[in-house]
Symmetry: C2
Subunit: 440 residues, 2 copies
Amino acid sequence: MTPEPGDTRHHVVIVGSGFGGLFAAKALRRAPVRVTVIDRTNHHLFQPLLYQVATGILSEGQIAPPIRDVLRHNPAVRVVLGEVSDVDPGGHTVATTLLGGAKVDIAYDSLIVAAGAVTSYFGHDEFHHDASGMKSLNDAMRLRGQIFGAFERAELEDDDARRRALMTFVVIGGGPTGVEMAGQLEELSRRALQRNFRRIDPHMTRVVLVEGGDRLVAPMGERLSRLTARDLQRKGVELHFGAMVTGVDADGVDLAQSDGTHLRIEAVTKVWAAGTRASPLGAKVAAATGATLDRSGRVKVEPDCSVPGYPEIFVVGDLMALDDLPALAEVAMQSGAHAAHTVERRLRGDTTMKPFHYRDLGTLAVISRFRAVAKIGPLQIGGFVGWVLWLVVHVTFLTGFKNRFAALARWTISFVGKGRYERALTGRWVVDQDIPPGSA
Amino acid sequence: MTPEPGDTRHHVVIVGSGFGGLFAAKALRRAPVRVTVIDRTNHHLFQPLLYQVATGILSEGQIAPPIRDVLRHNPAVRVVLGEVSDVDPGGHTVATTLLGGAKVDIAYDSLIVAAGAVTSYFGHDEFHHDASGMKSLNDAMRLRGQIFGAFERAELEDDDARRRALMTFVVIGGGPTGVEMAGQLEELSRRALQRNFRRIDPHMTRVVLVEGGDRLVAPMGERLSRLTARDLQRKGVELHFGAMVTGVDADGVDLAQSDGTHLRIEAVTKVWAAGTRASPLGAKVAAATGATLDRSGRVKVEPDCSVPGYPEIFVVGDLMALDDLPALAEVAMQSGAHAAHTVERRLRGDTTMKPFHYRDLGTLAVISRFRAVAKIGPLQIGGFVGWVLWLVVHVTFLTGFKNRFAALARWTISFVGKGRYERALTGRWVVDQDIPPGSA
């Protein structure tokens, strides 16, 4: 872990290899710096397609390219597998536990913290035991095992009530992830599993989407929310608005409804897509630098994404609180690149403060085959046109990936067709696993 | 789990969904029977390509299609996830623990036992803890985590000796699996990981192949053995013949060499491809029926693959001892189909005993990109022509799979090219896991 002796180039340490960290590293391509990217996993993760891994359309590798492979053409970038637990802004180091367990302090000249967000159970971390999040590959693989395992167990079940519980899927949270997951679970049961079973009819699957507020994909505006709700209902998804989850156990969920009544839904598989909170590293950065956190635990930064009083420390992406910007991949990419460009400008001697301006390129969510909703500036697009747009944007993103052809080929065949090829249950994933929230 | 009331068709129970079980089920397509296939996993496994899953070329789903999806067009076939632990030939039932834990006795009219083989550590099951087998998806996923994790840890390691141990891979067993694995590990280090690392040079990887006898792929004949050894050595694989493994621990292996000396190899990753033994179900069948087992624990059967004295019980594939037939996919397919045809003939009233005759279609092993060895009857083919043949045969096999296009596309890109896309380390697979031998 010792740096190359004699390498006196300015050292940029980037914590995290999500969209923020990756775009920061890429933006430093031609800068006279050496870069160290630290992440707990060996892969970047294309989170918008995580639900397709959970439902057997794509394989892990198709949405999770190795970071060091993505950055292989930049010899100045080093990738380190480890977990950053603290920052020492005075000593200019980050405390890191490397893969294998060794603890080291890694020195930086500039630091870009892009540690992102983890699933939030709103103070009920114990819910994680029975309701998997949707933030990591582990989450998706756990859900894949639960979903396909539930159909297998339903096929063997003689008790009617138990069989119904096995074939009931509750998705908690009506944002894009929850909407896409609910839509895909309906697709799966109505199309992909046709003729696969002899005793159960996958058409009898019940998919329930629970939303605490009164609208789905709320930031997209009322019209698209309505469109989304209508499309999901037509597909057969059962919607519950204004319902708060008060309990989650192995057999189902308890909801407090807006009219004051209590509702119990018996369901073996629960997906928690209700919210995220900032990575705990944000609190460490704040404690060390005196910065303040917003309600979601994000670090309030200066207009140029730097931490107040520490111009060499930047916080970007989902961990950054600035101008009420939403936690979107696009914001992470742009703020990561902005921090990188600021470092580069300073090294050229340009120390003027250049504030970060987010350019909103639009928001998208897919509801089902051929139906999606999109909001692009003043435009609000639904249905098939929205879906084509969603396709174009995701294909463009995937284009940055080395394995785009195979992914696209498979994805097209699976998503437009009805195949779900990634259904192999390996022993470890059939059984419900207790992986703590926020693990990679 | 209760059968449909009123379904009085002859009930064929097939234990196992490997090549033997699957081909038995498919051969019963037009027979007036109902069929139950029982397996511990939800997938068939194309074992010859398991090493490509372990080395990141293919995803799990690409070599492991869901059994019920493969058999979806035959409504008379039911697939049950469970483990058969015993046979009651008098009561005509198999004792089965279903997924979820329920224990049931499943009644049969005819029984085809195709439970296959598991990894054999030759009486040293404790070796499993530090040397993964190569028989199941779990084995392959564990190895994938170990292999790519070893390079990650080597990149972080300051100690020279430890770094060498992390970059040393010992493959035990010189059969087709060991040869293919060793060749692919060399490919990986010399081509696929290029430019990925900054501190280590993957070219410094040491791949050691240990064989107890004096020849590789021995059943293929002396000429092809020599060719295989030469090709592997040219690629850089280190060969040790006449070496017996006397110890395996977390840090390396101990070998007793043919000249009486002891050799210690420091290596973090060990692959056990040295041997298999019959599934424990074979011993249960023998105990219940009075049949005898051969040295490998396989059940000695009549010439028509039935158990002596029990014409309605068949043992096929790797679990069958007949005419010294080798444990090959081709033997399993043909014997599985033979048993099925015997059942069908009897139902038509034809009770003549028709012995099973294996038609040898040849044996193949791939050494590297563009190099393989093949033995087809009197023909012995090596080098590029052997490889083309290997390709044709595997493409033909994959053609039976629904996802052949995506698999082929990815496989061609990865194998002929240098990409290894399935490298995402999920938390559970990075750390070494102790999955008991023979688990799914």
